[in-house]
Amino acid sequence: MSVWNFSYAALGLLLAPLLPGIVNRTKAVFAGRHGQPLLQTYYDLAKLLRKGAVYSRTTSWVFRLAPAGGLACVIAALLLVPAGDYAAPLAFPGDLILLAYLLGLMRFMTVCAALDTGSSFEGMGASREVQFSALTEPALILGLAALAYATGSFSLSGIFGGVTRPDWLQVGPALVLVAAALLIVFLAENSRIPVDDPNTHLELTMIHEVMILDYSGPDLAFILYGASLKLWLLGALLANIFLPLSGRSGPLQIACLVAGIFVVAVVTGVIESVMARLSLLKVPQLLVGAAAMSVLGFVLMLRYAL
C-alpha cells in the first residue's frame, strides 16, 4: 500500500467535476459554440454551497438525507477502483459486487427522495430509473464476471491489474465486446445520451434530472458532485480496460489513466453530439443488448482463454 494506491481516489475527488466540463466543451466544439468554461461545475458547486435551500412541504427526512447518503455511497465506491497495478485502498476479493451494490444503494436513496416529493414527474423519473437500472445491473455484473473469468481474479484490482497486452492480443474481440457493454452501462448509469439527456428541460423525457427537480442549494451541490464522481468512477473502469499499463512506473500509470478518463469524457461528448436520445421504449433493448454483449464476450473467453 503506497501513496499511489490512494492517489487515484484522491485525484477523483479533486478532478471529477472537470468531467462534465470536458463533455460540455466537446459538445460545444461539435456545435461550433464557445461553450461554458471547463471549470463550470466547480463554479456551480461553490455557488450552490453558499446558497440556502427550498424544501417542499410534502417532503420528509428521506428527501433531506438522501443527497448526503448518495454522496457517501459513491465516495465509498471510489475507494474500490484500482489504478493499473495499484490496488484500490479497499481492494478485496468480491469488491466488484460491493461496487455494484453501493451504486444500487445510491439509486435506492435517490428514487426514494424523488417519490418523497409526491410529484408525478419525479415519480415518472423514478419509475424509469428503476426500470433501466434493473437491466443495467446484470450487464455491469456480467461484464465484470467475464473479465473476472479471463483474469482469474474476483477483485477489481486483480482484474484490471490482470488485463495485460497479451490479453488484448489473445482475447481482444471478447474484451472489445465487454468494453462496449461497459460503455453502454457507463452511459446509462450516468444518465447520458442515448439513454437520458442531461440537458433537456422537458420533465416528461428526463430520468435522472427529473428525479432531482426539487433539490436546491447545498443538496443540489451534493448531488452534482456525486454525479461527477460517478462519471469518474465508471470512466475509470473503462480507462483501466483500455490501458493495459502493467509494469510501468507509478506516476506514468496514474497520469495515463487520468488522461484515459478525460478521453472517455471526450468520447461521451462525441456520442452526445452525434446521436439523439433513444425513444424510451427502445432503451431496454439497448440495455439488454449490452447484457447480451457481455454474455457473448464471456462465451468467447470460455472458448479461447482456456
Binding site: 440556502g52 426514494c112 410529484s119 426500470q131 434493473a134 473469468y149
Partner: protein, 661 residues
Amino acid sequence: MTLIITALAIWLATGALCLAFSKRPRLVQAIGPAGAVLGSLPALFAAGCALFCGSTGALQLPWSLPGANFVIGMDAISAFFTLPIVSICALAAIYGREYLRPYEGRKALGVSWCMFNLLSASMLLVVLARNGVLFLLAWEAMSLSSFFLVMFEGEKPEVRRAGWTYLVATHIGAAFLLVLFVLLGRPTGSLDFDGFGQIAGTPALASLAFVLAVVGFGTKAGFMPLHVWLPEAHPAAPSHVSAVMSGVMIKTGIYGLLRTLLWLGPPPLWWGYLLVGIGVVSGVLGILFALAQHDLKRLLAYCSVENVGVIAIGLGIGLIGLGSHHPLPAALGLAGALLHVVNHAIFKSLLFMGAGSVLHATGSRELDQLGGLLKSMPSTGATFMAGAAAISGLPPFNGFVSEFLIYFAAFGLLGAAGIPVVLAALAAIVSLALIGGLAAACFTKAFGTIFLGEARSSQAEHAHEAGPGMRAPQILLAALCLAIGVTAPFAIGVLKPVVKQLAGATDLGDWTGAAALPLAVVACAGVGLLALFCLLIALRAMLPARRMTTAAGTWDCGYIAPTPRMQYTASSFSDPLTRFFGPLLGIRRKFAGPRGFFPDRASHSTETPDMSRERIYKPAFIAIERAMAKFQWIQHGRLNLYILYIVLTLLALLTWKLGRP
C-alpha cells in the same frame, strides 16, 4: 433437552389455558403472548448453547405408536433453524397482542392464541424430530395450526378461499413426504432418522428421494411453481401470523430439504443444477410477480418466493461445488443460503409487521390508497425502509452479506473445469443481479407509495402510529438487520458447524479463513459508509447557509392545482417493468377509455393472476377430474353394491396373499 421439553410444555399448557379461558378475551390476551414469549426463552437458550458451545444432545421418551419413537435431538442444523423460529415467534407474539386488541370480544382469540402456541411448538418439534412418524405428525400439526390461524377472519369469502388453497397445497406436499419417508425407511424397516443414511448406497433411490424431497418440502418452502398457496394464505392471515409463516414456517421446508440431503450421500451434479434452476425461476418470477401486485401483503408473499429462490440458488451452487470438488464455493454457497434463511426471517417478519401496522392504521392493504404515512407513522416508516433496503440486498444491511456470499461462491465456480458448471454459475450470477435490481424497484415502489408523498385517501390522511407493543419488535428487527450487516465476519463463525455438518465427509478446508477477509472489508465498508454519511450530514450542517431554508410546495411544472390523486401510483411506477416482462406475467388489463363527444366515465384496472395456478394447476385438475369422471359408473349410491365391492376386494387380496409362497 430439558429446556426443549420445558419450552414445549409451556407452549402447550398456555395454549390449552387459552382455549379454557376463551370466554375472557383480556385474560387470553395476557396468557397467550406471555406463554409464547416464555416458552421461546428456554428453547432459544438451548439452541444458543448448541450452536455456540457445541452442546448437542438427544432425548427419547416412551411412546406406544407403531413405528414411532419420540426421539428428539439437537445438532448444528436443528439449532441453527431453532434460533430464528423461536425468536420470530416470540417477537410476533408481542406484536400480535396489540395487533389483535381491536378484535377482543369480536373474535375467538382463545383459539387463535392456542393455535399460535401450537404452531410454535410444532415448528420446534419439526426441526428437532428424529423419527419419521414424529416428524410427519409435527409437520401436520404445523400445517393445521397455521391453517386455523389463516382462517382467523373466516367469514370473508376470500379468506376461506385462501385457507382452502393452503390446505390442499400443503397436503399434496405432505403426500410426497409420506412416500419419501417410506422410501427412506425401507432399507432398515425403521422410521428412525439414524437408519435413513443407508439409502445413499443406491444412487437411483437417493435421486428419487431427492426429487420427492424437492417437491414435498418445496411446496412448503414455496418453490415456483409449487408456491400457489403463499400469495393466497399470507395476505389472508393476521399480520403477526403472516410474519411467522413467511418468516420462519416456510423455512421448515428448507430445513427438511437439508436434513434429507444429509442422508442421501454425496450429491451428483444434476441435483445442484436442478436447485439452481428452481432458484432462478422462483427468484426472477417471484420478484416480477411481486412487482406486479398492488396489495401490500400479496407483494410481500411473492417476495418470499423470490427469497426462497435466492436460498435455492445458494444451495444449488453449494451442491455443485460439492459435486465438482470445489470445496470453497461449496462452503460459501451453503453458508450464503443458510445466512439468507436467517436474514429473510428477520426482514420479512419486519416487513409483514410493518404491513400489519399500516393495515391497522388505515384499514387498507391497497398500495394505491396509501401515501404519506412517514409523517404520521415515523417509527414504522423508518423500520420499513430499513427492511426494504435489507431485502433489496443493499449494504450495509444483512441481505447484502448473504447475497454476497452466494455471488462469491458462484464467482468461485467460474474458474471450474466443465462448461455446464460454469454456465450454472453464470446463470446464478445473472439472475442474482437481475433479482437485485428488480427487488430494489419493487421495494422503492412499496415504501415510496405507502410512506412517501401525499396521502391518496382520507384513511391514509388520518393514520396514526402503532402502539409501543407493535413498534418495539419492528425496531428490534431493523436493528438486527443492520447488526448482522456490520458484524458479517462473526456470522460466518456461527455458520461454520452447520456447513461442516452439511458437507458430510467432504473436507471443506479453511473456508472461513478465505471468507473472513472479504466479509471483514464488507463490514468495515458498512461502518465506514455510515460514518461517511454522518460526516457529510455534519458538513452540510456546518455550511454557512444552513439556516436559509424555505418551505414551498413541490415544483409542479407550472400547473396550478395539483392534488394528491395526481401522484404517481404503485401501478404506474412499476408499469414499465411489468410491461417489459409482460409475456411472463400474464397481466389482465381492463380498460374503458372515455368515448364519444361527451365522455363521462373511464376506468382502468390491472390484475395479475398467478401464472402457475392459471396455466398449470387449473388445467391439470380439470384433466384429472375428466379422467376420474370416466369411473363414475362405479358409483351409483347403492349400498349393497358398495358392500359387494368390499367383499370382492377382500377376496382378491386373500387369494393374492394365499397365492404367494
